[in-house]
Subunit: 226 residues, 2 copies
């Protein structure tokens, strides 16, 4: 079997983007705001998970949400109706990722003053968003059971930039050939520092553990600003 | 809830790409080769479905496969071991889609003389590959049950370019809130001409119907070359 490698000449868009992202991150840090960038394939359960987490965390923290979509405003409405927190819908008009400039515009449109936590639900795409630093404090990546435990091997860039990985839809483990230990190994091979969680949003399994972890992260962000 | 729209200025890369793609398509047509571009999210079951289809179709047709991946050669090995047909692995080196130029290089590397069917398994990505015509005779898009029946609304471009849509993993219908009729409506709203199939590759359900349809398409391609 032959292997051909096709190299694409890329402009240095990403490095310019990343320099700007550093400014956003530092600015948010000064204000004690924790900015979470949530990424995954389409249909991995980002919106459902976020709804559950926000409904736990909103008792103690002021939360704002940026919903990035190519089209439609389904997710923004779902989150807004289910949680009542401030939500803004960003349409990327066909673009497959959120750049730092888009992220900055969205933060300004949302209005972040007084917020403790801002969540960006990125475009459903396991490839492109990994290349663009949004200025987020942390990147959280979802890997759903139906997708398969080999995805960290096939989409390495996304798992390299993930601070936290959440294995979702564990209620479907019986139906799919997904080995949690193998998934963890594959994730840690790409990123030995990744924190890994396993949840079922449908059955409310381990959502509290993830919420507890995020609570600490939000408090740390506030503390480091003082 | 506010909505902000972020317009990205795109170079006219896609229109140049599409002009070249027309040449590839016409050239293949003259040779009576049916070229199938298979696209979907990561983990929708492209490789499993293709393995099943190839094992039915290889009795009557000469088949070649191009596996496009960002990294790894897992899928190429799987297809090759399970079917014995000619497979070539293409690494896009981080690129999120297959351009017409990449497609052309891969066809040359594979060697298409004497083939009846060439299958391109595109990068797992429901966004970017939709923008790049690969020169394929037809685009086949997978939508897996765990992803949700709303995906045609959220990723409209992919379903617009799809000639055929295959709803996969129907064996998981009991576990997920997926309405096949709603999915069909959503697909047909984006693309009233799409042919829609529902399959479970795991349980060999309706694979024969899809194979029968592809058989007709391959024969039509041969006939139109004569």
């Amino acid at each position: 079997m032959d292997t051909i490698k096709i190299v694409k000449i890329k402009e240095d868009i990403t490095s310019r983007n990343n320099a700007r992202a550093k400014f956003i991150r530092e600015n948010l840090q000064k204000q004690g705001i924790f900015y979470l960038n949530v990424m995954s394939s389409p249909g991995s359960g980002k919106t459902t998970l976020l709804t559950k987490l926000i409904n736990i965390l909103r008792n103690d923290f002021k939360i704002g949400v940026i919903e990035a979509d190519i089209d439609s405003k389904v997710d923004a409405e779902t989150i807004h109706n289910a949680t009542g927190v401030k939500v803004i819908q960003m349409h990327t008009m066909g673009a497959c990722h959120v750049t730092c400039q888009m992220s900055n515009d969205a933060l300004n449109s949302l209005g972040i003053e007084g917020l403790d936590l801002v969540i960006l639900e990125n475009i459903g795409n396991l490839v492109c968003p990994a290349e663009f630093d949004t200025g987020a404090t942390k990147n959280l990546v979802l890997l759903s059971v139906p997708e398969g435990d080999d995805k960290p091997n096939k989409y390495p860039a996304m798992f390299k930039v993930a601070d936290d990985v959440v294995i979702t839809k564990t209620d479907a483990l019986e139906v799919f050939d997904f080995d949690i230990n193998r998934a963890k190994e594959n994730i840690l091979r790409r990123n030995p520092n990744a924190k890994i969680f396993t949840v079922s949003a449908l059955q409310d399994e381990n959502i509290d553990k993830l919420a507890f972890y995020l609570r600490q992260e939000i408090l740390n962000a506030k503390k480091s600003a003082e």
